[in-house]
């Protein structure tokens, strides 16, 4: 699962974690594993990872920033969906604040809602 070479380690994410990465807290597990490595360079190998959530991508980028003083962390073998999600989340980090959605919608009574069942 962890392939050791002289100067860097290759961590296969789909085996260490899962083929679909959803949760922020899963990145904490990965961070602990990286901190235990004794090499300067760590490749996070996404072969076999089919999807990453926005939350997990955000947590992953924050982790990379936290560790960058001590480790060179690279994301390798990311598929199109994973690459796209990491790109979008990274782009949103450099923009000061993404425009939040408008949400001013109709409030109705429960009786009005349930009348729709028979329409």
């Amino acid at each position: 699962m962890i392939h050791t070479e002289k100067s860097h380690k290759n961590l296969i994410i789909s085996r260490l974690l899962a083929p679909i990465l959803s949760s922020r807290d899963i990145v904490d597990i990965l961070e602990k594993i990286i901190k235990k490595t004794n090499t300067k360079s760590v490749d996070l190998d996404f072969s076999g990872v089919k999807f990453i959530s926005r939350s997990a991508a955000h947590a992953l980028l924050l982790m990379k920033e936290r560790l960058q003083a001590k480790r060179d962390i690279s994301f390798i073998n990311t598929n199109k969906d994973v690459t796209n999600m990491l790109r979008i989340v990274a782009a949103n980090r450099v923009v000061s604040e993404k425009q939040k959605p408008e949400f001013n919608i109709e409030k109705i009574s429960v009786n009005s809602l349930f009348k729709e069942i028979l329409v």
Partner: protein, 284 residues
């Protein structure tokens, strides 16, 4: 122990399921010990059966299914306890082709929980026919809505259940927690005193309970993917005494008098994807 009859939904719409759910829990205290009578049901959708399952697990309530015509179905979906083991889950999904059993996701399980959730998402994607580009549309709502449970509910357990209806060509998914709910989360994390209906509005405006400005996109983006990217989906979000009911065409906020769900219920219905899907515009 008070007996609660789970009423038969008037039809198969999400709103009809919601009405039965509302009538099941009306005039009930959040942690009251109940005995659920399911004998009048002839079929069930995730929105109705998963909250009952979660409630039973959370309060050690009980249920009667013996005289129900759906007794064998309830056993197959692992109602009410659900399953939390990867090996058992794998056995079940090989056996049954149109549903994914009630799955119990436990926070402390870490990578095992993530693998179980991944199996759930992959099975749902497979049930929907492995349509090109649909994986993101299928996985995004499940991933973001489940992670929301563990981020905000302050509960270490969540429930998820999915059922595909091949003759109707749509999939229903429900995700439930019995945690603190949105209004309490805003109060405890940000000091905001909001009604349940205003707390749901804040969620849908993308205002996270966490201080980080980059957060808060999970639920409203999920709703957009379900209702807009997947064209024709329906989305229901309930917390406390309020709910949001959204479709591609309209959105409505509703107050539920004499009803209080301790935590959050998310239910959605998506039509089986028929062509290439791209969720990127909804993520930018």
């Amino acid at each position: 122990m008070e007996k609660k009859i789970v009423p038969k939904p008037k039809n198969d719409s999400l709103i009809a399921q919601l009405e039965s759910l509302y009538k099941t829990f009306i005039n009930t205290s959040p942690k009251e010990n109940l005995n659920f009578d399911l004998s009048s049901l002839e079929w069930v959708c995730p929105l109705l059966i998963l909250p009952v399952s979660a409630y039973i697990n959370n309060t050690k309530s009980s249920c009667e299914t013996n005289n129900s015509s759906i007794e064998s179905y309830l056993k197959r979906i692992e109602f009410p306890k659900g399953i939390d083991s990867i090996s058992l889950f794998q056995q079940r999904i090989q056996k049954y082709k149109s549903f994914v059993p009630i799955s119990v996701l436990k926070k402390e399980a870490g990578a095992s929980r993530e693998k179980l959730e991944a199996l759930f998402s992959e099975k749902i994607y497979q049930i929907l026919g492995n349509v090109s580009g649909a994986q993101g549309a299928v996985c995004y709502p499940i991933a973001e809505l489940v992670t929301n449970i563990f981020e905000h509910s302050k509960k270490d357990i969540g429930f998820i259940f999915g059922q595909f209806y091949p003759h109707k060509n749509y999939l229903d998914v429900c995700i439930v927690d019995c945690g603190r709910g949105f209004a309490t989360a805003y109060k405890e994390e940000k000091g905001l005193k909001l009604t349940d209906i205003n707390a749901i509005s804040e969620v849908m405006r993308g205002n996270s309970v966490k201080p980080d400005k980059e957060r808060g996109y999970g639920i409203w983006t999920s709703k957009r993917i379900i209702c807009d990217a997947l064209k024709g989906g329906g989305f229901i979000l309930i917390s406390g005494s309020a709910g949001l009911v959204a479709t591609t065409k309209e959105e409505k906020l509703v107050s539920f008098p004499n009803f209080y769900w301790q935590g959050v219920i998310v239910a959605y219905r998506i039509p089986k994807p028929s062509g290439l899907l791209d969720i990127s515009p909804f993520l930018e």
